[in-house]
Symmetry: C3
Subunit: 245 residues, 3 copies
């Protein structure tokens, strides 16, 4: 059983944060809210989303799992105005999700959850360095790095957070001290990441005021921030590339 009402913008942001990595996902319902864990097809990045009951104007659910085609759902949500309320209700017998916005109702077939890749186990990582950066600064550095390379390294040197990309002839560098960041906990850290994934993640993170980054030495990166007006938590884990030099 699932029946909920949520502001269109909050729902859009939530779906987008998952659909940046995967096209289909399993939404886990409990009485307390919705959660999603998904890994991209290449096993490089993982997203973990928790949307609390409070993010909804009304929310009723029993334990369950919904298989959702995110591309289709994004298409439907495009039709909503920013201030529309979206009403979601599960038609259990027909295995469909009814999405209502004003007088319009869209009946969407659900996917069989067992046909969607299993929820990954989120590894526990103890990463030495921690920074908090403005979303737009992260996005800006990633966009600059794309101009010269397909990879970007991130790390902490002393009291400075850096992002660097080296191309054949040109290179790009961002250096930020604790003053220029929101927070910095130093620690030995430098890892290389694929810009394909960083671009997708930073597009979502770029809309947010504060983005937490945990990073280590040739270790996965963890990027966390709030969405849906602080009622949702998104975190991404991104595997490092081994430097070939």
């Amino acid at each position: 059983m699932f029946k909920a009402v949520i502001g269109a913008e909050k729902l859009k942001d939530t779906i987008e944060s998952i659909s940046t990595l995967v096209d289909e996902a399993r939404f886990k319902l409990t009485a307390d809210g919705v959660s999603v864990r998904a890994v991209d097809p290449a096993n490089v990045a993982m997203v973990s989303l928790d949307l609390a009951k409070d993010a909804f104007d009304s929310f009723e659910a029993t334990e369950g799992e919904l298989g959702i085609d995110l591309t289709k759902l994004n298409g439907i949500l495009e039709m909503a105005d920013k201030n529309d309320n979206i009403e979601l209700s599960l038609d259990e017998t027909a295995h469909k999700l009814v999405i209502r916005m004003r007088e319009l109702s869209y009946t969407m077939s659900l996917l069989d959850p067992s046909s969607i890749r299993k929820e990954p186990k989120v590894p526990a990582l103890d990463l030495p360095a921690h920074i908090v950066i403005r979303g737009e600064d992260l996005k800006r550095a990633v966009r600059a790095a794309e101009k010269v390379s397909d990879y970007m390294s991130m790390g902490v040197r002393g009291e400075v957070f850096f992002m660097e990309a080296e191309g054949d002839t040109d290179n790009v560098q961002l250096e930020m001290t604790k003053d220029q960041l929101i927070d910095l906990k130093p620690g030995e850290a430098k890892s290389l990441f694929s810009l394909d994934y960083l671009t997708d993640i930073s597009k979502i993170a770029g809309k947010t005021g504060e983005v937490s980054i945990d990073i280590g030495k040739d270790y996965p990166l963890k990027v966390r921030f709030k969405i849906a007006q602080n009622h949702g938590d998104v975190s991404y884990m991104l595997a490092p590339r081994v430097e070939s030099e």
Copy 2:
């Protein structure tokens, strides 16, 4: 003889309402204004436009007919600013229309009206149900229907106006009561239409406050509204599709 001045935006809206169905049209001139009747190449939809003399800042015409390439005229009008006045004058001997906007003058060859498909006879239809809906509500429902199908049915059930589209797995439905509409006159009505045409028509109608719809049971649809700041009447007639189920 033809010589007239009209605001750029009014003229653009007028031309667009015809060019959504046909690329060329015969413009009929009388001392009282301009009118166009045209049928799309597939004989599925018909447009009928009447633009009164009042829509113009100045208007002088004797009876006549102008063959106009609408694609070209749209291209020319794109260059006008919203608040520009457009001066139109017929060069009868050269068979050209001179279009002036500020210091710029564009001399456009006219088409031979006899080379353009004849003006259709507008059939008299007595359709049982009648509704008046906000243009944006119509456009919104049509856009939603496109997500699931190439066809959409419209009709009235009791005191409710509905639009429905059924896809292979999903479906879309709009239901509006008299309260949610501007007006409703009930009557038995349900017909299926091609979204190709409804999309074009609803894009134009979507800019308007009030759109009148007359509808019957497996009968053509009639969509009417005002354009050019209430000085013009546009109406579309759209043939139904026979349901194959």
Copy 3:
């Protein structure tokens, strides 16, 4: 030695005024500012740019020449916000230009100036007619001409400046008297130009309030205006087409 700070918008406008004709250029540095002279690959149009020291927030340079990939530089400047300051500094040993915007630094390889086409000699022309026109009026006439032809003639007839384009069936004409222009010095003038080039030049000139045009009879056209908030001078010279009629 070169080290300078300039507003992002001023730098973008400056680079764009050159990159509309060429992909690479030699930037000549002196203690007083920067200048560029370049000819397009087909030898039809020439651009001459002088950006005074005053255009910069700070400027220090010794005589020198930088070979710059304009396409790449445009891409880098896209990342800057309108109000950002851009810091430029030359790394002479590595032969690189370091471009800093906020915490981000981009290190761009310079091109060998000798690999870039030599600076052209700007011919001294004594053109009989001179007009000053609003940039947007020029752009508008060029856009209209494109609708009907690949060429456009410009000239002065008595006290009237005209621009004309003739297509197979349609034609476009702009006529402006001294009152409608900012200034007009009459003189016998009519030349035909390729719209390929006029389009590029008028896109840049269209952003400017006042554009000076010098013109003769089957002679090159000279188009001049200020950029970078009046601290820069751009001028284009465009060879005429010989009328084949």
